[in-house]
Amino acid sequence: MKHPFVRLFFASSVIVSLLFSSQAALAKDNFKICWSIYVGWMPWEYGDTSGIVDKWADKYGIEIDVVQINDYIESINQYTAGSFDACTMTNMDALTIPAAGGVDSTALIVGDFSNGNDAVILKDKKSLKEIKGQQVNLVELSVSHYLLARGLESVGLAEKDVKVVNTSDADMVAAYTTKDVTSVVTWNPLVSEILTTPGANKVYDSSNIPGEIIDTLVVNTETLKANPKLGKALVGAWYEIMAKMEADKAVREHMGKASGTDLAGYEMQLASTKMFYSAADAVAFVKSEQLVKTMQYVAEFSFDHGLLGEGAPDAGFIGIETPAGVFGDKANIKLRFDETYMLMAAEGKL
C-alpha cells in the first residue's frame, strides 16, 4: 500500500463500486425525497417538521424520508443519479436534467408557478429595450436565462444583442453592488434584496409570462408506477399542508423563518408566486392546452442552447406528455405531467 498509485487505485475502486449501486425501481416501502429552499417548496419543510408527511406515509404503510439539499442543482443531479425517488424542481430543469439524462420523470404535484418571482433588473434604466448591448449577469442555462430570452423576444431583441455572464446565484447580490454590473436576471429572495438598492428597476418579470416557470415535485416514473402508494401519500400530505398554509398565519411564519426570512418577507415572496392551494386548480392548470404550448417554448429554448443532449436533432426529441396532449416524440416520452393523484386529492379520495 506504499505506492501512491496503489492507494489511488484502491480509493478509486471503492468509488467506482459505489457508482454501480443505482436505485432499483422495484416495489419497496422506503422512499427518499429531496427539496431545496424556495418559496414554493417550503411546505415540504413544514410537512417534515410537523409530521404531516410521516402521518400520510404511515397511512399507506410506507416510509418517506424528506431531505433538504442546500444546492438546488446538486439536488436535481442527485435525483437524476438515482439517490432520491422524488425531488422539487422547475419544469425546465425537469426537462433538461433528468429527462435529458434518460430518467423518465413525472411531475406528480404542480405546486405553483412563478408570477413575478423571477425578474430582469436594470441599473438606472427603466425599460427592457435599454438592455441592448449590455452585459447581463445571470445563472446561465437556468430559468433566468429562459426568462431573459422570452423578454428579449418580446421587445424584438435576440440573445446576441446582449452579453451573458454566468454568475453564481449565491454571489448575485454582492455582484450587483459592483460598478461593472449593470443588469441582472435572478429570482427571489434575491430580487427583493436587489430592488432595495437605489436605481434598481425591475423591467421584466415572470408575471409577463404567467404559468411558464412552474415549480413541481418530480417523481421517478417507474418508481411511481410500481408504488402508487408513494404518489398517494405525497399528494395527500401536500394538500393537507396547503390547507394549513392558506388558513394559518403561524404556518406561513414557520415557513418564512425556515427559509431565512420572516412572515412579512415570506408573504412578499408569496405575492409574486401563484400557489395552487386547491388541488382542483392545479388539475385545471395541468389539463389546460396552454401547458403544452409552454413546454414547447421551454423545449425550443433548451434545444437552442444545447440542453437536450448530444443526440437531440430537434426540440421535439424528448417527448413531453400532458393530459391535453404530447409535445415531441411520442416514442421517447421522458417527462410526464400527471393529474391522476392530484385529481384524487381534489375528489377527496386519498
Binding site: 475502486s13 457508482l19 437524476t80 436534467i97 439524462g101 446561465e140 451573458v164 454568475t167 454582492a174
Partner: protein
C-alpha cells in the same frame, strides 16, 4: 537474499507497474459505465468513452455554433492567462516582501506579523468584499489567486532567507559589500530556486482559487465550463476537462523543475 522486500522491479516492469493501476482504473470505469448504461442508455453519470470522445471533438475541434470559437482552446487560453498572471504577481510579491523582510530585521520585525495574519484569512470567505473592491472582471480572478497564494510565498521566502548561513553575510561584509549589494548579489541568487519551489508548492491552491473564481462570474475558462455544464450533469465534458487541468498542472510543475535545473544546477547538486 531472496525475500520480497529485497526484490526490485526491472526497468520495463517498473514502467508497467506504474501504468497498471491506470489501466485497472479505466477498466473499472468501463465496467461501471456499462452497468449504468445497461439500466439507462442515456445515463450521464458515467459516460461511455465514445461519448467522451464526441464531447472532446465538439469542444476542441469544431467551432462553436454560437461564437465560432473553439471552446476548449479558448477556455484553456483564458484560464492559463489568469493562472500565469496570478502566479507571476504572487511570486513577485512573495520574493520582494519575503526577501526584504528576511534580510532587513528592521522591516521584518514590523511586517511579519501582518503577513502572517493576512495569510491566515481564508480568501473564499472575503470573496464578496473582493468583488466590490476589484469588480467582477478579469482583475478579481487574478486577485483571488494572488491573495490566496502570495502570503504563503512571502512567509516561505522570509524563512528561506533567514535560513541562509550567517557566515556568508559576514564574509560579504568583510569584503566591503553594503546592504544593497548583499541582498542583490548574495541573497537573491540563492533565493530564486527556492522561490521556484514555493511556486511549485502553491500550484495546487492556485488552481483551486482559479476554478473557484471562474465558477462565480465568468464568460469563459476551464472552471467556468465545468460549473456551467455541471448544471446538466454533462460528465462527458467534465471528465476530459478535469484530466486536462491535471495535465496542465503537471506540465507547469515540470517546466518549473526544468527551469530550476537549467538555471540553478548548483541548487540541485546540494540536495
Amino acid at each position: 537474499m531472496k525475500r520480497l522486500i529485497n526484490k526490485r522491479p526491472s526497468k520495463p516492469l517498473a514502467v508497467f507497474l506504474g501504468i497498471f493501476p491506470f489501466l485497472i482504473l479505466l477498466f473499472l470505469y468501463q465496467v461501471g459505465s456499462d452497468a449504468r448504461k445497461a439500466e439507462n442508455e442515456r445515463d450521464k453519470l458515467l459516460p461511455s468513452f465514445s461519448e467522451i470522445h464526441h464531447a472532446i471533438d465538439r469542444l476542441a475541434f469544431t467551432p462553436s455554433k454560437r461564437t465560432g470559437e473553439y471552446v476548449f482552446w479558448q477556455d484553456t487560453k483564458s484560464s492559463l492567462k489568469r493562472m500565469l498572471m496570478g502566479l507571476a504577481i504572487a511570486a513577485l510579491i512573495g520574493l520582494t516582501i519575503g526577501l526584504l523582510t528576511g534580510a532587513i530585521p528592521m522591516l521584518g520585525a514590523n511586517l511579519t506579523p501582518l503577513v502572517t495574519a493576512i495569510s491566515l484569512i481564508p480568501p473564499m470567505a472575503i470573496l464578496p468584499i473582493l468583488f466590490i473592491v476589484f469588480g467582477l472582471g478579469e482583475l478579481s480572478k487574478v486577485v483571488l489567486i494572488v491573495i490566496g497564494i502570495a502570503p504563503f510565498m512571502t512567509r516561505d521566502i522570509y524563512q528561506r532567507t533567514k535560513e541562509l548561513p550567517r557566515e556568508q553575510l559576514v564574509k560579504a561584509q568583510t569584503l566591503g559589500a553594503h546592504s544593497g549589494q548583499i541582498i542583490v548579489r548574495v541573497l537573491l541568487p540563492q533565493i530564486l530556486p527556492r522561490l521556484i519551489d514555493a511556486v511549485r508548492l502553491s500550484l495546487g491552491s492556485a488552481w483551486l482559487f482559479l476554478i473557484a473564481a471562474e465558477a462565480i462570474a465568468s464568460t469563459d475558462g476551464l472552471g467556468y465550463r465545468i460549473f456551467l455544464v455541471r448544471r446538466y450533469m454533462s460528465m462527458d465534458v467534465i471528465l476530459p476537462y478535469v484530466i486536462w487541468i491535471t495535465f496542465l498542472a503537471f506540465l507547469l510543475d515540470w517546466m518549473l523543475v526544468r527551469t530550476s535545473k537549467t538555471f540553478f544546477p548548483w541548487y540541485h547538486v546540494q540536495k
